[in-house]
Symmetry: C2
Subunit: 441 residues, 2 copies
């Protein structure tokens, strides 16, 4: 019996031993076997990024790798709080804080990218593209250009076939690059115009450079019936328009009238895509597509080779090209956007904005003091159905005689908007930007 | 004896079992225990970066995350070969290929960054700084500004105390921003000048914008004895100078003469640092410090608040700030540079460039046909010793009467240089850029 017990305990021991041995083999494989999974020089940077991402800011702020924050004298990343919040973890609501709806920050897409953390992350090595050039002789990433063309063709918003593509430091840099190219060696200085209400940068940028080749000439309204057909015009046409979200076409006609078509908002989260546009110069910006305003990346689709070459020379002379880090990241982001034919991101954006618009317009429909622009539901080729409005900005009108200064009326109620850059026709109106407000509506 | 054997084999089994169990515990810890080391959403991007970095391009090329290459129809990263090399792994030396020394690409620092792969890598999350702003109300990273100030104070090349710091898309954007600020509201258009030989961008940029506020007026030579003291001048002063590496001071004096001090090369790998400069406007660029030309990141130290505000407005209007990805990476790179008081990188750069210069000047000292600029050894406050010359560019002169077109003489010998942008005084000279050539000297 002693032997029997000894035998069975030996067997038992043997059983455990074999089990332990097998476990060892498995663990050995897990620890050292998956060679392809083992990281070396990227590990520290990856850990740093995950550590920063894991900091909790109470849903009212964000920590970034290059951030400094509350109580952090060492420069270690800490929470940076959104407007109206404070404290080391952004949990304190600040008293008497106005809702800032002035900025055009496209943060409504931030949650989309947080949900796609893995597919949208990029690791930049210390020696990544140090040269001025990317592809031999150019400062543009060919791979990125290819993905931009694919994006236009998948969304169906603009015809890229046969067009030249030029990048820019945001589409902002390309605004003046295009004005420069279209006014180059004209017989008289070109008149740069736009139809009110228009995006303010057209005016400030044109005036800043104070060029002999062009000058700011204000609203097209003053010029559309001009009898002098020898005048050179460069017209900014923003469609859908910033701020009112309505479709736009060139107003100035004539042999010397040229247009720059700013299609920053011609994407399915902001507007229906009823047709594919196909114009001489079309501008787009990553800021208003994926929401990455800080990346400062935009592009132009250009028909004419000479215009393209002039604009290329402009960007080369102004900034010697465009950040290689921005180009690398834009490529990664567009790859994510293109997954499932772009449906995920544009659907997410559309749902968010149309929801906000519905709430805002429902509230204001009860008011006799304020009114909003009217946007009708429209069939969208991309979504293949009729879609509700979801404009980038609310274009608010103060209806009462005594509310002449609409901006002040709203600021009195704790809302910061942006005043109209012109006074079109009748009364002072206010441009309060809607969708980008971090404060929930 | 049977019992004894059985006993000893039991003991033996027990011994192995305990050993196996301990190994189990160790491996369990290695596999799952180091929670802080386990990566989640950053893993894929890190693996992608390591995979690309591990591609071998025979030492004659490089593969990048956003690259396409030879035979790669899928857009998967492949080798991109340096000039004069081809084939899928860049192992083929192309016949009759000229040595291209025209470009100012600072690739001589690439090996330094490859050696510091771990400390210089950056992981960019999909939601990293999407906003236009970085710190509330600004488009500049405060943390980066702090490191820039620290860099100047550690190197001792420029006095940053009390100065405003403005970033730029390279220092390139800041050249014209400064011209704009200094010529704003002058009574007559400012004359923009530089002393030959000078960096060509001063002229091309000033002419491109064709502003009513300023005009290109060429070499200071024509103006230094002007009797009209009411003229406004904006003088570019590059010190050490591009291309000849010599120290420079403003030439134009007078009540309306202002200078923009371009100190792109005033760093210890290019030149001795005999003193700390302290001027009204001083420009610097990451390109010529760490070698990251493609990052398009530069900065200005500015004394006067009004000039600073004008330049800030220029950059805000021209490009709405600067790539957040570039700023994040610049910060990481400067952190590496600042390790051990900057000695590692600047010593590496100095050794590389002074070695190339010694070889080049030794070869050319035997020639009666060519001569190089003379640079004397000089005491450097940073290295705290006398250092040999290590200029950024070789400034070559063709000495023989018949070699009037010096550029053609060299190109006949298979060397591409850059011709002088002006013909100063006597004969045609050639600016052949030296240190940035990928071809070994």
């Amino acid at each position: 019996m002693g032997n029997k017990t000894q035998g069975s305990s030996s067997k038992c021991l043997f059983f455990f031993f074999s089990g332990s041995l097998s476990l060892n083999l498995l663990l050995l494989y897990l620890s050292f076997g998956r060679q392809s999974d083992r990281l070396t020089w990227t590990r520290t940077a990856a850990l740093e990024a995950e550590a920063v991402a894991s900091l909790s800011c109470s849903g009212h702020g964000r920590a970034f790798l290059d951030g400094i924050g509350f109580g952090s004298s060492q420069g270690e990343p800490a929470c940076e709080c959104y407007g109206c919040y404070g404290g080391s973890d952004c949990s304190e609501l600040l008293p008497d804080c106005p809702a800032d709806a002035d900025s055009g920050d496209p943060l409504f897409l931030e949650p989309f990218w947080m949900q796609r953390a893995e597919s949208s992350a990029v690791m930049v090595s210390g020696w990544h593209r140090m040269s001025y050039q990317i592809t031999k002789g150019t400062m543009l990433s060919i791979e990125l250009e290819k993905h931009i063309r694919k994006l236009h063709s998948v969304i169906g918003n603009a015809n890229e076939t046969g067009k030249f593509i030029l990048f820019g430091v945001g589409s902002t840099q390309l605004l003046n690059a295009a004005v420069h190219a279209l006014s180059y060696k004209t017989l008289s200085p070109a008149y740069v115009v736009a139809t009110a209400p228009y995006y303010g940068a057209y005016e400030t940028q044109t005036k800043l450079f104070n060029s002999e080749d062009y000058e700011w000439a204000g609203d097209t309204f003053q010029w559309k019936n001009t009898s002098d057909s020898s005048l050179n015009f460069v017209e900014f046409v923003t469609s859908p328009n910033n701020p009112d979200g309505l479709p736009r076409h060139p107003v100035i006609q004539g042999p010397f009238a040229k247009a720059i078509h700013d299609h920053a908002y011609y994407w399915p989260h902001f507007t229906a895509i009823p047709s594919m546009v196909d114009e001489e110069i079309m501008l787009f910006t990553l800021s208003k597509i994926t929401g990455h305003a800080g990346t400062r990346f935009g592009w132009a689709l250009i028909k004419d080779e000479e215009v393209y070459n002039r604009m290329l020379k402009y960007t080369a002379t102004n900034t010697i090209g465009f950040s290689h880090e921005s180009q690398l990241r834009a490529l990664k982001l567009l790859k994510v956007v293109l997954q499932r034919g772009g449906r995920d991101m544009f659907q997410f954006g559309y749902t968010t904005l149309s929801d906000r618009w519905r709430k805002l317009s429902t509230s204001l429909s009860l008011s006799k003091r304020f009114s909003l622009q009217k946007i009708a539901p429209q069939y969208c080729n991309f979504f293949q159905r009729i879609r509700e409005p979801s404009p980038g900005y609310a274009w608010l009108k103060c209806e009462m005689e005594e509310d002449e200064d609409c901006e002040r009326v709203l600021s009195g109620a704790g809302i910061i908007g942006r005043a109209a850059n012109v006074i079109p026709r009748a009364r002072m109106i206010l441009r309060a930007k809607l969708q980008f407000s971090v404060a929930s509506l």
